[in-house]
Amino acid sequence: MTHVLSSIDLAYWQSTLIKLIVVAILVPTTALILGIVFLFKVMSWMQSRKGPQEAGPRGLLQLLADGAKFVQKEDLIPDKADRFVFKTAPIVVLMSTLLLYVALPASQHLVVEDLDVGVFFALAVSSLSVIGILMAGWSSANKYSLMGGLRAGGQLIAYELPMVLAVVGVVIQAGTLSLNGIVQAQANGAIFGFSALGNPFILTQFVGFFIFLAAVQAELTQTPFDMPVAESEIVGGYQVEYSGFRFLFFFLAEFATAFVFAGIAATLFLGGYWFPGVDTSSKIYWILGPAVLFTKIMLVAFLIFWVRFTYPRFREDQLQAFAWKWLIPIALVNILVTGILKVVF
């Protein structure tokens, strides 16, 4: 297998195309389907919902039913909507999510672009979704949409900061911005000389981990931070005028973003594709890497959705206060302590 692979000499564009197809299309879609089925199951068990337990064999067809429902709906565009912007907005949101998958390493070589500044890239493109949401909110020509869009804008900008600051601690400890490098730093690390388990950064950066997860929750506009889409208040916010497959785009983007943020959290804090005891350069990671990463993603996604199904939502001002008065100062202190300890040890 390896012999055959290495004997083929591919041009740059050819290898890129293959990687793009495999990683940027196949991985997210399979992951999404598995993820949504898994999360549907979790959701239905937690909330005693019947659909994902009853529809089809073991409730597996619920996703299909939902998809079919959205596709057959009429594609409505409001009379006064800015048609071009209205149509583009869901694509922008989904694109910002799919761009995140580009930098996520599923093994040392199984990555579309092994960027030197992977963390930076991931955080940068994730914030693109704000533009799509603001576009959707503004172009719908609906007061509820507008309020939702503006709430989303304020919230996503506010929670971008703690997210970046939470990651800085990891970057300091790893000494690199490359996601691959961060995984290797965790794999090659040692806890007080004991190196069998490596050094997953969740052990040292647990504060950062929780801040990161809180910020992810807010970026996803999920409860308790779902003010921008609050269904009982502003009736879905920026999504209110969308129907059919355009709404499906938002819906998919939400799950896909949850999934990829869980992937980034797993990479930054849980060691990513690395399995304890197996060297990261081993060939087995072509198979093992995605499986391990997927398992870790599921763990983090479970945490995210657990919180989502437990808490009621914050009010807008409480939400901003939580970001600026609590998360950001704690994240700054975390960076300070990490920096000091890095110099000391």
């Binding site: 308790p224 009982s232 939502r313 914050f314 009010r315």
Partner: protein
């Protein structure tokens, strides 16, 4: 006035409508937000016209009447036993409770009293409909505040109560079971034991709600100090039921002024009040009331006397001339019927006093200057049923 058939006239009307819309679009001081008639927070067709400045509400005006069904008029062409079918649909979550005050008023006019067994079962069903109503409130409150999970739980656990109501009356939602002088049927076999299990499940649900929602810090932040209604204001707006008790008014018609025909004097329970008067207080009162109701049912189940369930009532019911006012403590608050009879088969006039109409009338007062999310919290904590507002 002639019908508008002329095209020009129609065009003129359309232009005027457009002008009106433009006036709303171009207003400069803030924005008018129509919350409703179709809005998930109003769970029905209540419309609230809110003038907002950013996220802050300058004024909020509830507009009722989208679901007006004219029950007061319709009762005038229905015989007394037929009326219960209609008034079942006033507060559709606790339907049986709607029938009780009307039947009691008619009994009062006729000078009949239901036998003790019927009174007992009537009270049990009354409290069961309270459970069905308020347990959904707890779920609805959670949904309005974003915690969907408890909403699903409440729908799941409420079913235990509805099953018991259905087992006796044959209807989950609209029992139509109360009769002048007693009840339609006796209890089915094994019902008492099953109901005791259902009550245990309701208490478990209350504990779950207590843990999941009332103990939650975000919930407390969202509800404490929001929508504070002082006792005097609550009295002047005619608030009743848990909303009044949430403002510290110790007043419960079951205890203070229970009309004859209900067995509340035979049970021991506590009327909870809360001094704060905010959204949390109102919700907390309802949580406690659900617990108390399950205790009342338990006590009544143990002491059901034997005997007939129907008093001697003429086959064709003619209510003698006179007027009667009977009010009971319904799940949503004080509900009363004022019946004027001219000695006929049908009532001459029926005035229905339903709790939600008054409870919602305080919205403009309490919603001034709050944030939009708080409007939803306040509406959820006031807890109205649209059928109870519009009738």
């Amino acid at each position: 006035m002639t019908a508008v058939t002329d095209r020009d006239q129609l065009a003129a009307l359309a232009a005027r409508a457009n002008d009106a819309r433009a006036n709303i679009e171009f207003e400069d001081d803030g924005m008018t937000l129509n919350i409703g008639p179709q809005h998930p927070a109003t769970h029905g067709t209540l419309r609230i016209v809110a003038k907002i400045d950013g996220e802050q509400v300058v004024s909020a005006e509830p507009i009722a009447g989208y679901m007006h069904r004219g029950y007061e008029k319709l009762t005038e062409v229905r015989t007394y036993p037929q009326v219960t079918t209609l008034i079942n649909r006033i507060d559709w979550l606790g339907s049986f409770a709607n029938e009780v005050p009307f039947i009691l008023a008619a009994e009062k006019l006729m000078g009949i009293e239901a036998p003790p067994r019927a009174q007992h079962i009537r009270t049990i069903l009354f409290e069961l409909s309270r459970l069905a109503n308020i347990s959904l409130f707890l779920g609805d409150l959670a949904i309005q505040l974003g915690g969907l999970t408890l909403g699903f739980y409440s729908f799941r656990d409420r079913e235990f109560v509805l099953n018991q109501i259905e087992a006796v009356t044959g209807g989950r939602f609209h029992p139509n079971f109360d009769r002048i002088g007693g009840l339609k049927d006796d209890l089915p076999k094994g019902w008492i034991a099953e109901t005791k299990v259902a009550m245990q499940k309701m208490r478990a649900f209350c504990d779950e709600a207590d843990d999941l929602l009332f103990g939650n810090e975000i919930f407390q932040k969202r509800t404490r100090g929001i929508g504070v209604i002082p006792a005097e204001v609550a009295k002047s707006y005619g608030l009743s039921g848990p909303n009044a008790r949430g403002s510290g008014i110790d007043w419960d018609l079951r205890r203070d002024n229970c009309p004859p025909g209900l067995a509340y004097d035979k049970v021991d329970w506590k009327v909870w009040t809360h001094p704060d008067g905010d959204a949390f207080a109102r919700s907390w009162i309802r949580l406690q009331e659900t617990r108390e109701a399950s205790k009342i049912v338990d006590q009544l189940l143990d002491t059901i006397p034997s005997g007939p369930i129907m008093a001697k009532v003429p086959r064709i019911i003619k209510v003698p001339e006179g007027e009667a006012w009977v009010a009971t403590e319904n799940p949503l608050g004080e509900m009363g019927y004022y019946i004027v009879s001219k000695g006929d088969l049908v009532p001459f006039r029926v005035k229905i006093r339903s709790a939600s109409f008054n409870n919602v009338s305080i919205v403009p007062w309490v919603c001034r200057g709050v944030y939009i999310p708080d409007v939803i919290t306040i509406l959820a904590s006031l807890y109205f049923i649209l059928g109870d507002i519009d009738r």
